[in-house]
Symmetry: C2
Subunit: 76 residues, 2 copies
């Protein structure tokens, strides 16, 4: 089975990568870009029958730093 995990920084947490992308877009002439936030998009191939609770545990233990990051799970 497949699952997707979206890991994003919590609001208020500084996003240096997002800032760097934003400045780069501006320097390339993309003035439309107001703000950019970058996160992680993880695609998991899992054994059939893996529970959402188990994926939550993977997120809390490894995939996301829950102090500064949020995560969202999508089971395909």
């Amino acid at each position: 089975m497949k699952a997707k995990v979206y890991v994003t920084l919590k609001n208020g947490v500084l996003d240096p990568q997002g800032k760097a992308i934003s400045h780069a877009l501006e320097s390339l002439g993309f003035d439309e870009a107001r703000d950019v936030r970058q996160g992680k998009f993880i695609e998991l191939e899992l054994a059939d029958g893996t529970s959402e609770a188990r994926i939550e545990e993977m997120c809390r233990k490894l995939l996301a730093n829950t102090v500064i990051e949020n995560y969202r799970i999508e089971i395909a």
Copy 2:
């Protein structure tokens, strides 16, 4: 307006980060994890009326390395 860009490695391209995550999950006892692929999830705050073509251009010029990466755009 908001747009989301998902940048993933093309099939067949080695994903060392995904491999590292996969091994780490195994070492934590998550034997269910068969394969892991990691990509980027970019949230763009853009001026109203920015066209999808313009966002495509941002992807081709900066957000994705189209030689080894695919990108998908979602306009919120």
